[in-house]
């Protein structure tokens, strides 16, 4: 598994069906895609295209109806809830749209939560890394604050610090800028791009915002549960045109 083109997330003919009969919805329809180590991938698509399902399946939060899902080489589709929980704990970092942080824990405790859950002490190198992240993300003077005392942008930066701290195989970001103002959005996206470029962190981001997706160096497009596009980095205008094309096609 040490090949340079290591698959961090791999979907093989993955389908996810909700409901049955007339009310059946194919949220994912025979999706095959490989996300290699390193790099920043955006998953785009109009609402209802299956973006969120893609994310939940990749995170092991949701079962698949058919196909295979591998995260860091582990077959998620064959693992039980407990095994998936532990895989999540060790290999996956999360940044959500909202409600990212445990409100009763302060900033430092939130960032260190993944280590605590894994039940291990930080070694000197990890401690330095966490301190580095906290200072790079501009949180150094906020470490004792509770999430409720921070702005939305600050909360999201704490969530990014928490996601990056244990150096997971992949960071999954679900509409990370959905609740932020323009300036905070740019900041958060810039940080994610930096994490991918400078630290080699694999990041998969789901978004419907063309500007957000333009920060990524690969853009996957979903429509009606199918993978309909796989592009290199694009400008916001190109992405917007691409999406409008699909919306028009659907309408």
């Amino acid at each position: 598994m040490e090949a340079p083109f290591e698959a961090v997330v791999a979907f093989h003919s993955v389908s996810k069906v909700y409901g049955h009969g007339a009310g059946e919805v194919r949220a994912l329809d025979d999706v095959t895609v490989v996300v290699p180590r390193g790099g920043f991938t955006a998953v785009m698509g109009p609402s209802g295209s299956g973006k969120s399902t893609f994310m939940n399946v990749a995170a092991g939060l949701d079962d698949v109806s058919a196909g295979e899902v591998l995260v860091a080489g582990h077959p998620l589709h064959r693992m039980d809830d407990r095994a998936r929980t532990i895989l999540r704990r060790e290999q996956v970092g999360f940044v959500f749209q909202s409600f990212n942080l445990v409100p009763t824990l302060d900033v430092r405790e939130n960032v260190l939560l993944p280590f605590e859950l894994a039940g291990r002490r930080l070694n000197a190198e990890e401690r330095a890394w966490v301190d580095h992240l906290i200072s790079v993300l501009g949180l150094a003077d906020r470490v004792d604050h509770r999430p409720g005392e921070l702005s939305g942008g600050q909360q999201q930066r704490v969530a990014i610090a928490r996601a990056l701290a244990p150096r997971p195989a992949v960071v999954l970001a679900d509409e990370p800028t959905g609740n932020l103002d323009t300036r905070s959005s740019r900041e958060v996206l810039g940080l994610l791009r930096t994490a991918a470029r400078e630290y080699g962190q694999t990041i998969v981001m789901v978004s419907h915002d063309p500007v957000a997706a333009s920060y990524a160096d690969r853009v996957l497009v979903l429509a009606d549960g199918r993978l309909v596009g796989d592009h290199d980095a694009m400008s916001p205008q190109q992405i917007a045109e691409l999406l409008i094309g699909f919306e028009a096609g659907v309408a």
């Binding site: 939940n56 995170a59 939060l61 949701d62 809830d81 407990r82 929980t85 532990i86 999540r88 704990r89 060790e90 999360f94 959500f96 749209q97 909202s98 409600f99 990212n100 942080l101 445990v102 409100p103 009763t104 824990l105 405790e109 939560l113 993944p114 605590e116 859950l117 894994a118 039940g119 509770r146 999430p147 409720g148 939305g152 909360q155 959905g178 609740n179 932020l180």
Partner: protein
């Protein structure tokens, strides 16, 4: 403008606890009144004096008042918990043009209506059960056939008191309604954390003053007990009331700290840590759900410890013959059992409140639990977390209540029979304390099993999608 209360309070089921505890109070009031009427009429038929009736009436009134107080604490907490979980909805109503005062009024009206229904039902049920029990006893010949009352008229004002107390309690518990601003409806990300109100200096002074004065009065009463006479016991009762009021007033200052201390003993792994924070997340709610239990446990322990002390003292009296000593012991034990049965209702009311606050709190944290699951909490760890939170709260309440009860019971007994007994009169009712401890464990299981099962049954994805 008047707002419909179900818009603010949600379904009637969410305020079900309010109806339940009001009903328990109503049942208790009418049953106790029927019981005291029964004893009075029976004593009169036997040619006894009518002073018994007045005394029993006064005792019943005190116990009913205590039960109503505990129910009010539970109702305030129930309303506060429901409102806290619906702040987003309330903010939307504010955005649409409802003003905060009328929303709060709607909360009070809705909760009071539910309480009124509960109280009336409870009074009727209590009367029915009381009448039936008495008829059976009369029929079996274990009770004189006399002119008993079929409906305790005093239960009507008792129901009135319950309803007024419920209205006051829901007013106190709905303060958070005022904190929801229309702008919050538009904010997606912010997690509203209710800010803690500081305890005022005046309240602080009053609390510690009352505790200090009450404590001194209690000690004085214990010393007076060595002289004999009724004054000592009356003084002790007064001292207990004064210091008890002080403890209730100052609970906000002490209880969260005690719970925090107890939860530090739970461990340092992530579930314990989060549980410890959750236990004191809202100091007001923590205090109320703990203090309800404290009152219940204190009452039971006070009577148990008081009678245990009396029995210990009676053993040491050498002016009694062996037969007299055995008889005294028997009487004391029987009265002790009866008293505990009478006061245990307050504990039951507090326990209902505790279970409901825990369950609602967990339901409201569905999203947060989903987040924890996504981050790597196993289902077992979520269960552990919820159980430990419940342990921290109930262990604090039980320990605090037992300590208070042991002190009150011993001081009361000393004030009563100090003159006849060498040394300080005290006793430890081992069996009752063990019973309370077992009840505490059962309470923890009841309060955490259902909500934690529900919490882990929700898939993390759905939990994360839950409205927050």
């Amino acid at each position: 403008m008047t707002a419909r209360s179900d818009l603010v309070l949600g379904s009637r089921r969410e305020v079900g606890t309010v109806g339940l505890v009001a009903g328990m109070c109503g049942f208790y009031a009418s049953a106790l009144l029927i019981g005291s009427d029964l004893l009075t009429v029976d004593a009169r038929a036997a040619g006894g004096e009518s002073a018994v009736g007045i005394l029993l009436g006064a005792v019943a009134a005190v116990f009913i008042a205590v039960a109503v107080y505990v129910a009010a604490v539970v109702i305030a907490n129930g309303v506060d918990t429901v409102v806290a979980g619906r702040l987003r909805q309330i903010a939307v109503l504010r955005l649409l043009g409802a003003d905060a005062r009328s929303l709060r009024g709607a909360v009070v009206r809705g909760a009071t209506l539910v309480a009124a229904g509960g109280a009336v039902t409870g009074v009727l049920a209590g009367t029915l059960v009381g009448d039936l029990t008495r008829s059976v006893l009369v029929g079996r010949g274990s009770l004189r056939d006399a002119d008993y009352t079929w409906f305790p008229v005093l239960a009507v004002p008792a129901a009135g008191v319950i309803i007024v107390a419920a209205a006051a309690a829901s007013w106190a518990g709905s303060r958070t309604v005022l904190s929801a601003t229309p702008a919050q409806a538009l904010l997606g990300a912010a997690v509203p954390m209710p800010q803690t109100r500081a305890v005022g200096a005046r309240r602080r002074v009053a609390a510690f003053g009352l505790i200090g004065c009450g404590g001194l009065v209690l000690l004085g009463a214990a010393a007076l007990g060595e002289q004999g006479g009724a004054a000592g016991f009356l003084l002790a009762a007064f001292g207990a009331m004064v210091s008890g009021t002080g403890i209730l007033l100052g609970a906000r200052l002490v209880v969260p700290a005690l719970v925090a201390l107890a939860s530090r003993l739970l461990g340092t792994d992530p579930p314990s840590k989060v549980a410890a924070r959750n236990a004191v997340r809202e100091p007001g709610r923590t205090t109320r759900s703990t203090m309800g239990l404290v009152i219940g446990v204190t009452l039971v322990t006070t009577f148990a410890a008081g009678f245990a002390a009396l029995r210990t003292a009676a053993h040491s009296w050498d002016h009694l013959t062996a037969a007299q000593a055995a008889q005294t012991d028997q009487v004391l034990r029987n009265v002790s059992v009866i008293m505990i049965c009478v006061v245990i209702v307050s504990s039951a009311i507090a326990a209902v409140g505790f279970v409901s606050t825990m369950s609602l709190g967990v339901i409201q944290r569905t999203r947060e639990i989903g987040l924890l699951r996504a981050l790597g909490f196993t289902a077992g760890q979520v269960r552990t977390m919820i159980t430990k939170e419940s342990v921290a709260l109930s262990a604090t309440a039980v320990t605090f209540g037992m300590a208070l009860g042991l002190a009150y019971g011993a001081l009361g007994a000393q004030a009563l029979v100090g003159v006849q007994t060498d040394g300080f009169v005290w006793g430890v009712p081992g069996l009752v304390l063990a019973g309370i401890a077992v009840a505490g464990v059962l309470l923890v299981l009841a309060a955490s099993w259902v909500p934690s099962s529900r919490a882990v049954a929700v898939a993390p994805v759905e939990a994360l999608r839950a409205p927050g």
